[in-house]
Symmetry: C2
Subunit: 166 residues, 2 copies
């Protein structure tokens, strides 16, 4: 498979994610998007699910185990405008792959307090796990060569697109 | 359900775990048992799977998010007699419940190095997850009231038994 032949309808997957989350997200829960793709998704979900609670953003940069290689590539820092202690949190991300970002992000949350529960929803589970992490809600599962990067982009109209890069 | 009516054949489940692990554990992998029930299981599995690699023990005490409440209840500390950096690790535990122990234990491993992969095998998955953790291999799944504690014990002959406590 190469990027030219790749086609995955990110908008349709987003609608599926909305549908799946409607069944399980309780009104007391806080959506927290993982930068950058997950933060865009969480922002859209916060509106489409009419969440009464405040929205958060979390960055994995500080806790990633390869921080020494990546550095502070992302300029958006963690913003959690609610009390993490005792909170029910739904982490939102575009792609679940090795699970290393998820470990980093959960540790970042725990720096702010001890949540009652942390759930995970992703657009795409692409397999290839290197840590025992799972998503509670997934729009779709795909199998991709490990050397390829699946990336969510958002255009000026807020439409989501997936691209696949070598 | 009360403890008097509870019956779960830990020995039969152990045999199932052996069978399930035989299919997926590669000879380069290191078994690491979580104290105390998981460490007993890992010790038995190390022998029954004829693992050529050294066996590890890991304690969740230091990284648990309720450390301030629990303290150092366990006297057995982490022992990882191999290079964690780049290692393929199979964590072994008796019961998977909230996932909080698993978060603690994975963080403990990362204190020693950056493993290539960390997989998880448990005798019993009792649901009730509070973090997005999953086991790769499970002998059985049960549903139990959250106020009950499922505990593995080992007798002098090395036989495993489960007990259920309020």
């Amino acid at each position: 498979m190469n990027a030219g032949l790749f086609s995955m309808d990110a908008q349709a997957l987003y609608q599926q994610l909305v549908k799946n989350l409607q069944r399980v997200v309780t009104p007391d829960a806080h959506l927290v998007g993982i930068t950058s793709g997950g933060a865009w998704l969480a922002q859209a979900l916060h509106q489409d699910l009419a969440m009464p609670t405040s929205l958060g953003i979390v960055s994995s940069s500080l806790h990633r185990d390869d921080f020494f290689k990546r550095g502070m590539a992302e300029s958006v820092a963690t913003k959690l405008p609610f009390d993490v202690e005792g909170a029910v949190i739904w982490l939102i991300d575009d792609v679940l792959f090795t699970g290393r970002t998820m470990r980093a992000v959960v540790n970042e949350l725990f720096d702010y307090g001890r949540p009652k529960a942390v759930h995970l929803a992703v657009l795409v589970d692409r397999g290839g796990r290197e840590l025992p992490v799972q998503a509670d809600v997934v729009a779709t599962q795909v199998s991709l060569p490990s050397n390829q990067t699946l990336r969510l982009t958002r255009d000026n109209q807020g439409q989501f697109t997936f691209s696949l890069e070598d």
